[in-house]
């Protein structure tokens, strides 16, 4: 008996979903439905969280779940699982499906043409595959890297900085290269030691890399991707300053995190939503920058940055915005 009721309920539910699916083309159903597939946890204090936080912010701005529905699948580190989830969401008629990871590109290229009425976005990448229903987005993370590098070099007493990188690709590489450029611009004789551990998830090796940087004399460190929690722990233990990126990492170690470059995808997602509502389902490549406020440098209020260093940071940010400082790395 109970089973029958559940079955009926599911049937009604499925029909309702199908009905929704049929009406997405117009985009005027009242509720904008977005689904996102992410490689790590929504609270990883890094890449995935940056997107999740942006969606929550948009939801609040738009007036809650009735106006803006969010569905997500996190910890999709297996690409095939992610592809299945993307296809699932597309079948369920979401207006916008975000594949939040450059590793999902090939899957998206295959799936998107099957759902011409649905809009897809993916990143970080600069390629829409020439498909009319795919947006792409990336972060000019070298800009915040540059600012962090300038401040790090200004704060360093030992003259040695350490960088714990994941894999030498994408926005992680841009960030690291920007950081080095900024540090060198501030102090040409500074030593920046860089180490890529070959993984986005190997917390143990990230921690060991940080120990090594400390042993090699670094008194300021930074790093990118979700495995840096291992490195931040070491930094805190050994009293080494830390600069974060992707999300605000101050909560992890309030006493040593100086500043974080924060990705705020709201500018990009808001624009994509506007485009979809006006009938354009893709074709544009976006980039977060300091100028469009997609990249923000957030100082940790618990850490006391000397006023002159903070001024220096502001000046650098301003310089990058107005073009008087060019960060000559990446694209």
């Amino acid at each position: 008996m109970k089973n029958k009721i559940i079955f009926l309920f599911l049937l009604v539910f499925a029909l309702a979903l199908a009905a929704c699916g049929g009406s997405t083309g117009g985009g005027d159903t009242g509720t904008f439905r977005v689904a996102v597939v992410m490689p790590s946890a929504i609270n990883d204090l890094a890449f995935s969280q940056s997107m999740y936080d942006a969606l929550i912010k948009i939801q609040t701005e738009m007036g809650g779940a009735e106006k803006f529905e969010i569905a997500y699948s996190d910890n999709m580190f297996v690409v095939e699982d992610a592809a299945a989830a993307i296809r699932d969401y597309a079948t369920q008629g979401y207006n916008l499906i975000i594949a939040h990871g450059s590793q999902y590109g090939a899957s998206l290229q295959e799936i998107a043409p099957d759902f011409p009425e649905t809009s897809f976005a993916w990143g970080t990448a600069g390629d829409t595959f020439g498909l009319p229903n795919v947006f792409s987005y990336e972060a000019l993370s070298q800009q915040g890297g540059y600012v962090n590098g300038v401040v790090a070099a200004a704060l360093s007493q030992s003259g040695t900085l350490g960088v714990v990188g994941p894999i030498e690709v994408g926005d992680a590489k841009l960030y690291v290269d920007g950081f080095i450029a900024g540090a060198k611009a501030q102090n040409a004789s500074i030593q920046v030691n860089v180490n890529y551990i070959g993984s986005f998830s190997d917390v143990a090796l990230a921690s060991e890399a940080a120990q090594t940087h400390a042993d090699a004399g670094a008194d300021v460190m930074t790093g990118s991707a979700q495995m840096v929690v291992g490195a931040i722990g070491v930094a805190e233990e050994r009293g080494i300053l830390w600069f974060g990126t992707q999300s605000n990492q101050a909560s992890l170690a309030p006493s040593i995190v100086v500043a974080s470059q924060v990705y705020d995808w709201t500018v990009v997602v808001n624009d994509i939503i506007a485009k979809i509502k006006s009938g354009t389902l893709g074709g544009e490549a976006y980039a977060l920058s300091l100028e469009n406020a997609g990249l923000l440098i957030e100082f940790n209020s618990d850490y006391n940055v000397p006023a002159d260093v903070k001024d220096l940071a502001e000046k650098t940010i301003q310089g990058i915005k107005d073009g008087s400082i060019t960060v000559n790395v990446g694209g």
């Binding site: 790590s40 946890a41 609270n43 990883d44 204090l45 910890n75 580190f77 350490g162 990188g165 894999i167 030498e168 030691n193 860089v194 180490n195 890529y196 551990i197 070959g198 993984s199 998830s201 190997d202 917390v203 143990a204 090796l205 921690s207 060991e208 890399a209 120990q211 090594t212 940087h213 042993d215 090699a216 979700q226 495995m227 929690v229 291992g230 931040i232 722990g233 805190e236 992890l252 170690a253």
Partner: protein
């Protein structure tokens, strides 16, 4: 630039970090050695480590009591080991498949519990460095060997202990007999099932400690898939070491030292592409494994469920 690697401080750094890195591998591999010597291949090590890592972390996170955390990690490891023993010894399940099942259970369950109970990146205050009095004062040697946390020392103590148990006790004789010729051992009145339950459960306890050594001593944090496949490397190290604790130690140290060497190579700015550098420990381990594979025979009854004839 290469010459910078031979500076005293760098060599000390490489050795110290290699000793520390080997810790989780040692616990897990020594535990696995015991199980395999009795004829049970447990591929679930990584999953047990994850459960140990999470449970230890959670107890410390909630209570701040490190020893309670370690104890709970051991208990959880023992339970997972018991489960593996039940599946492979009592139910005679295919060991490779059931081990992978145990791994997947640990991987998923530790993440689920983490999301339900903690659901945030949190850090804890783990086992502090505990320099051994006097010994740690010896120049160079003291820094390399005697300035670690207790779980690091414990890992190295496991090696002679395991060697002694396997080669110098009646229990060890029984373990080896059960792993080589369970029929004969059974005829002589040794309970094959009991011995295998014991070794696999102890293996589970050690895997639990291996996980805890990450989450409450070396990293002091928990994340989904914290071990990142480390348990599988530990199993490879058992083969590498030819099922003998001393050689398992040698393999763990080789792997870890090369890992810390490649970290230093990059930090010192020696122009080796990072992709090549991070491959080095794996590559070298495979090479040595291939070269040494003819050296020793594996326990004859390894992976074979025991059923009494007739």
């Amino acid at each position: 630039m290469i010459s910078e690697l031979f500076a005293g401080s760098v060599i000390i750094g490489i050795l110290t970090s290699g000793i520390r890195l080997a810790t989780p591998y040692l616990y897990a591999a020594i535990g696995e050695t015991l199980g395999q010597r009795s004829g049970v291949l447990n591929l679930g090590v990584d999953g047990i480590m994850l459960m140990g890592a999470f449970s230890g972390f959670y107890v410390v996170f909630a209570t701040g009591n490190l020893w309670a955390g370690l104890l709970v990690a051991m208990l959880v490891g023992a339970l997972m080991g018991l489960a593996m023993a039940f599946i492979s010894v009592t139910l005679h399940a295919e060991q490779g498949i059931s081990g992978i099942g145990v791994y997947l259970f640990g991987l998923g369950m530790s993440d689920l519990l983490f999301q339900k109970l903690v659901n945030n990146v949190e850090t804890v205050r783990g086992f502090p460095e505990a320099p051994i009095p006097l010994l740690s004062k010896i120049p160079v040697i003291g820094e390399i060997f005697f300035s670690h946390n207790v779980l690091v020392y414990g890992a190295y103590l496991m090696v002679p202990l395991a060697w002694f148990v396997i080669h110098r006790t009646t229990l060890g004789l029984k373990i080896r007999a059960v792993g080589e010729n369970p029929q004969a051992a059974d005829t002589l009145g040794v309970s094959v099932a009991k011995i295998r339950y014991l070794t696999v459960t102890i293996g589970g306890v050690l895997s639990g400690i291996a996980g805890a050594s990450l989450s409450i001593a070396l990293l002091n944090v928990f994340q989904q898939n914290l071990t990142n496949g480390l348990g599988f490397i530990a199993i490879a190290l058992v083969y590498f070491g030819g099922w003998r604790p001393g050689w398992v130690l040698a393999g763990s140290l080789l792997f870890s030292l090369i890992n810390s060497l490649q970290v230093w190579v990059q930090v010192k700015g020696i122009p080796v592409p990072s992709d090549i550098a991070v491959m080095m420990p794996y590559l070298l381990t495979i090479v040595v494994l291939v070269l040494s594979s003819q050296r020793v025979r594996q326990p004859s009854a390894l992976t074979k469920p025991f059923e009494r004839a007739g």
